[in-house]
């Protein structure tokens, strides 16, 4: 039993019903051949990074399914290739990490994890920059204090001198 994932782009010019029926045909096809559909993700209308068949956008669908024998994949791909409604498709087999990732994504763990990752990265960067800065700050502060003391002493001295001169 292996888990696969087929992502395909449907022509956006078609009516909503036709787009949905496209998805339905492949879902039916899969379940007919003994495949077990794990999840269907509708990613919706997206802008394409480059034009395909003179279209600048497409409707993305991603179907995740389990299959006993991989021989059906050939059939599925052939029908996808022959289907004029489908602009592009990609079938991949998922390894155990991929299965886990998709599971977590559905539970809504992935986005948060990424934010945490980013947060920790930023924290580290901050920590690094902080560890760099305080030293210089301390040095500067020490120098400033020293300089201030010197100035004060100088002022005092001059004051004393002034006082003496006045006397």
């Amino acid at each position: 039993m292996r888990q696969y994932e087929v992502t395909f782009i449907v022509d956006p010019v078609l009516s909503d019903e036709e787009i949905k029926s496209t998805l339905k045909t492949y879902q039916d096809m899969l379940s007919k051949e003994g495949g077990e559909i794990v999840h269907t993700e509708e990613m919706g209308l997206r802008q394409l990074a480059y034009p395909i068949n003179r279209r600048n956008s497409g409707v993305y669908y991603c179907v995740e399914f389990k299959l006993e024998s991989p021989s059906f994949i050939d059939k599925l791909e052939l029908s996808l290739r022959r289907d004029e409604r489908v602009m592009r498709f990609l079938t991949t087999s998922l390894d155990k990490y991929g299965v886990k990732y998709n599971d977590d994504k559905r539970k809504g763990l992935i986005g948060k994890q990424k934010e945490e990752d980013k947060g920790s990265q930023q924290d580290e960067q901050k920590a690094k920059s902080d560890s760099g800065k305080p030293k210089t700050n301390e040095k500067e502060a020490v120098k400033k204090v020293v300089a201030a003391k010197q100035v004060l002493e100088a002022v005092k001295d001059s004051d004393d001198k002034d006082v003496q001169e006045e006397e």
């Binding site: 782009i9 990074a49 592009r88 991949t92 990490y97 886990k100 990732y101 994504k105 040095k139 500067e140």
Partner: protein, 88 residues
């Protein structure tokens, strides 16, 4: 008045220092790279849409290979461009 010793700190002292490179997948335990997430993959291509080398991203060989396949799959699905300018 700035004395001579103060002048040394007018420029950022960390400018010349090299930051340690690391593989973010190993460090944060990311095992799977999703080809359907173009925003994430954008970190591994330059502004022409070409894959960045390992010496810049710091990825380990294992994950650089996975990044490469993910980017190529994303390109096939028109989530990332094959050729472009000013991607970022």
């Amino acid at each position: 008045m700035a004395s001579r010793d103060d002048i040394k700190f007018l420029s950022n002292p960390t400018i010349g220092q090299r930051r340690d490179k690391y593989c973010r997948f190993k460090r944060f335990g990311i095992k799977y790279i999703d080809y359907k997430d173009p925003d994430f993959l954008l970190q591994f291509v330059n502004e022409q849409g070409k894959l960045l080398p390992r010496r810049i991203t710091g990825n380990s060989l294992k994950y650089q290979r996975k990044v490469a396949t993910a980017v190529k799959r994303a390109r096939h699905l028109a989530m990332l461009p094959y050729v472009t300018d000013q991607l970022k």
